[in-house]
Amino acid sequence: MGMTITEKILAAHADLDMVKPGQLIKARVDMALANDITAPLAIKAFKSAGGEKVFAQDKISLVLDHFTPNKDIPSAIQCQEVRKFAYEQDIINFYDVGSVGIEHVLLPEQGLVLPGDVVIGADSHTCTYGALGAFSTGVGSTDLGAVMLTGEIWLKVPPSIKLVYKGSLPKWITGKDLILYTIGDLGVEGALYKAMEFCGETISQLSMDARFTMANMAIEAGAKNGIFAPDEKTEAYVQPRAKRTYQIYRSDPDAEYLFTREYDVSTLEPQVALPHSPDNVRGVSEVGEIKIDQVVIGSCTNGRLEDLRLAASILKGKKIAKGVRCIVIPGTQQVYLDALKEGIIETFIEAGAAVSTPTCGPCLGGHMGVLAPGEKAVSTTNRNFIGRMGHSQSEVYLTSPAVAAASAIAGKIVGPEEVN
């Protein structure tokens, strides 16, 4: 019997010829990740397990991205703890203000995660790296502390589900629309404990940035990981960045799937996830008249160069509606710099948007744009749970950067067609 790409990667990292769904394995970890919220607890766990030296200084990434530049004294103290540990342990991939970007945009960009890797992060959106053909999944801090100590993790091999995308992408339809549609179909626990394998003819039309967006939100369907088989686009992305060797895996034709879903993308319209769940998804034309107070363009879902380009192409020469605050946050310093050179940042500022240094900030209601009671926001982020971006009586609508930019101009939720 054949194996899926997920099973092959896990088998290789457990030194086994084959693995089956449900099997408990111990897997070697190629990259372990924590941020300013999860690292302090992971460090505590590492130390209380008797940890003195991390298993490998070059296989750990510590990224201070959530409440940075520090929003208050407690978050400054959290960063201080991580910084101290990073220096003490000579952690090579330590990112602080000035070099930091949002972890899941930053790590692939820096070539720190590669095809065929097992990546374990103390952050649920660690599943993002599946876009490269890696097995990557989120865990809590204690698990991460244990990985920093042992270089290993216990995992249950997940069963895979196959998501097949067919047809050509209509104008304005992005990876975000595809994944929102998929989550709307599967539901927030439709892929619970499972691997989501993205395939089909449409995939080759998707840029790497679009694939990162899709893999990023696998967790929103409850999945353990989301994964794409590497192709020429993956290789073109990875080759100039990789500083070590990597391995390409693909699913066998006779690999087993729990179930398969097929989606025809050619008739899709831009998608919106309504409050308060990422699976509460409708086409933008079915949303109705919703006036908004804020727009956020950024995050580990949609803070890459292509996302900013798309938003800027809609905002160019236009103005943000009166009464709407539009906040644009490039995912990394590199994205920021590239956008600056391309004149995209100028476009945002001329349109009346605020542009910030890379940070998670408003995505988790941390800082840089927290919502008041009753306020409504359109956001390119990945979660719209109650209170996610601020007060428990605020509302978040999740969309692509195209819908976000169009809505910023219109002052209400609209598709890009309506403002272009």
Binding site: L24, K26, I37, T38, P40, L41, K44, A45, S48, A49, G50, H66, F67, K71, D72, P74, S75, Q78, G121, A122, D123, S124, T126, G138, V139, G140, S141, T142, D143, G145, A146, L149, T150, E152, W154, V188, E189, L192, Y193, G222, K224, S277, L364, G365, G366, V370, R383, F385, I386, G387, R388, G390, S392
Partner: protein, 164 residues
């Protein structure tokens, strides 16, 4: 391990932003976190909870972020065990890793109302609803998870064994 406590009833998809909103994650002090536990859907929850109470919830409990602050906040609020129809996978791992027992059972959840008193015997795999006089059998835990709970969580387990 024996647990008796009063049930607090919640619905499906209780996410980590409900359990502990991200804006409070500038600390990892469990006592501080516990103050805001469930505040999005049940303000004042922590004052209402008595040490040893039980959370009984629907499907996909703990979905969302990987924050271990979620099971920590629940535990520090005085909750002894969470019974749900299903758990989000990261929450499931985190709960065992920090030594908060959790139980998956559709039956128990369906039959439990807020305020019912439950008696849970983890070793025997039995849940008794003392208020309604109902007895349920629950799935035994995989050996590895049992080991984690007996050792008091992943860290004591690693410290004891020097590895997994």
């Amino acid at each position: 391990m024996n647990i008796t406590g009063k049930a607090w009833r919640f619905g499906d998809n209780v996410d980590t932003d409900i359990i502990i909103p991200a804006r409070y994650l500038n600390t990892s002090d469990p006592k501080e976190l516990a103050k805001h536990c469930m505040e999005g859907i049940k303000p004042g929850f922590t004052e209402l909870v008595k040490e040893g109470d039980i959370i009984v919830a629907g499907r996909n409990f703990g979905c969302g972020s990987s924050r271990e602050h979620a099971p920590l906040a629940i535990k520090a609020a005085g909750i002894q065990v969470v019974v749900a129809k299903s758990f989000a996978r990261i929450f499931y791992r985190n709960a065992f890793n920090i030594g908060l027992p959790i139980i998956e059972s559709e039956e128990v959840v369906d039959a439990t109302e807020e305020g019912d008193t439950l008696k849970i015997d983890l070793d025997k795999g039995e849940v008794i609803n003392l208020t309604k006089n109902l007895v349920f059998t629950i799935q035994p835990l995989p050996d590895f998870m049992k080991e984690l709970i007996t050792d008091g969580g992943l860290i004591p387990h690693l410290a004891k064994k020097g590895g997994y």
